[in-house]
């Protein structure tokens, strides 16, 4: 262990190589989280609508995406979008599209569980007051479902942040790639991979501790 050399971690080098990667990873996570929750909620509503025409495509989408590896989806999107658009898009844009549509499948299962956990009495009460289906969802059901599921949604976001490291498959410049480039350029890959692991651990662990505290605060006592 005596030949570890951590001098590669001075501030300028970190800033030039790692910071832009870190920013991209965070950006990717936030965009995929927001887009994924929006699309996921729509998918969950489709599955719970009772209309077969909506239910079946939603089920195929969610079950299909959940049964193949994320790396495979990353490769598929990176291959297909240029074919459809006629010109190539950047690796970073491809990654953002991939993660949004992939995480939508996982967020939709969480939102579906949340919506189903709301008692039917709420739906009937809304209808009794004269709300339409859309108004019922918007003002009564979804706010409660979202609040109940917030810890699970945030945990999925932590998993999403970890999964962003998989853009390695197409070489997008994320946090892991930043550390790897720093290591390769200065001949110290061992220290930089270790540092990458530590950074991911610190971020994810502190986020999951925050989620645990949040869960205690917003738990509704019935």
């Amino acid at each position: 262990m005596s030949n570890f050399d951590f001098s590669v971690f001075n501030f300028e080098l970190l800033q030039s190589f790692v910071w832009s990667g870190f920013k991209f990873s965070v950006q990717l996570t936030l965009v995929a989280m927001i887009g994924g929750i929006l699309i996921g909620t729509v998918l969950a509503l489709m599955r719970l609508s009772g209309v077969k025409l909506l239910e079946i495509p939603a089920r195929i989408y969610v079950d299909g995406l959940r049964s193949i590896p994320l790396v495979m989806v990353i490769l598929w999107v990176y291959l297909l979008i240029p074919l459809f658009l006629g010109h190539s898009i950047g690796k970073e844009v491809s990654a953002i599209v991939t993660f949004t549509i992939f995480e939508a499948a996982y967020y939709s299962e969480i939102m579906r569980a949340g919506i189903q956990s709301i008692s039917r009495g709420q739906v009937y009460a809304g209808q009794a007051v004269g709300l339409t289906y859309a108004q019922n969802m918007r003002y009564v059901i979804l706010p409660q479902a979202f609040r109940n599921m917030l810890p699970v949604l945030l945990t999925q976001t932590i998993v999403l942040f970890q999964d962003t490291s998989l853009v390695y498959a197409i070489g997008a410049y994320d946090l892991l790639h930043g550390f790897e480039t720093l290591g390769k350029n200065y001949g110290r890959p061992v220290e930089t991979y270790l540092a990458a692991a530590i950074v991911y651990f610190v971020v994810c662990f502190s986020l999951s501790m925050t989620v645990k505290r949040l869960q205690k605060k917003i738990a509704i006592v019935r």
């Binding site: 495979m72 598929w76 291959l79 970890q162 998989l166 892991l176 991979y193 692991a197 994810c204 662990f205």
Partner: protein
């Protein structure tokens, strides 16, 4: 958008004396081997760590918690890199170990944290009377776990273990980053060589779906064979 499908590509020679189909099937074998051995490692360590998190000893509980938090908060790809690049530097004796085993360790330890969580949940879902009954019968703590708690806990957690088994097949895809000749490596190389990305990717996707489905059915079969008549969820 018209696309010229060319399924004959699978029968084309790769230039090394075998067809692309043959290469894809051997890559599938590598995927299943990595996932299968990793699953064995994950079950062994996960069962131990999950049990440790429920024993009355605070130090053992802390160790179990630390293990789970460590392997859950680092992405699986980063863990593969640590096992492949960093650990052989820290323990020079491991430098001669083939990379296949390092990936198996990485995947196995990552999944063991998730299995440990399931085992802990299974143990804690049993009525506390089970432990008390064990000690009332004169069994020591290890004996109570071995003969009373763990058999029931494992049967309870077979459904979540099924989805963990399906997950490890998907997670084995990160082995491409350290040149294991598995399905993703095949997909990337074959797509570059033949420019027939859609056919290649479709073949690989189908194999992943088939593998996950097969694992699901095998676990359902095991679940049917080991269920205890009259217990929760096993009533038939």
């Amino acid at each position: 958008m018209k696309y010229q499908w060319d399924w004959q590509i699978f029968l084309q020679d790769t230039g090394g004396g075998e067809t692309y189909l043959h290469w894809m099937l051997s890559a599938w074998g590598w995927t299943l081997s990595v996932a299968g051995l990793g699953w064995v490692v994950a079950l062994l360590f996960g069962a131990v760590i999950g049990t440790l998190r429920t024993v009355p000893n605070k130090a053992l509980q802390l160790f179990g918690n630390a293990w789970v938090e460590l392997f859950r908060n680092i992405p699986v790809l980063v863990q593969v890199f640590i096992w492949y690049y960093v650990i052989p530097e820290m323990v020079p004796a491991l430098k001669s170990v083939p990379s296949f085993l390092m990936v198996v360790c990485a995947l196995g330890f990552f999944t063991s944290a998730r299995v440990a969580e399931q085992v802990r949940a299974g143990i804690q879902s049993l009525p506390r009377g089970q432990m008390m009954a064990g000690s009332a019968m004169g069994l020591t703590l290890p004996q109570t776990y071995r003969y009373v708690i763990l058999p029931m806990a494992f049967r309870i957690i077979l459904p979540p273990l099924t989805s963990e088994a399906m997950n490890i097949i998907k997670n084995s895809s990160v082995a491409f980053a350290v040149s294991i000749a598995e399905l993703i490596q095949f997909a990337m190389q074959a797509q570059e060589e033949t420019s027939r990305g859609i056919e290649m990717y479709l073949g690989v996707t189908v194999l992943y779906v088939v593998s996950a489905f097969a694992v699901n059915r095998v676990m359902a079969f095991i679940e049917g064979r080991v269920r205890v008549p009259g217990t929760v969820g096993a009533a038939k």
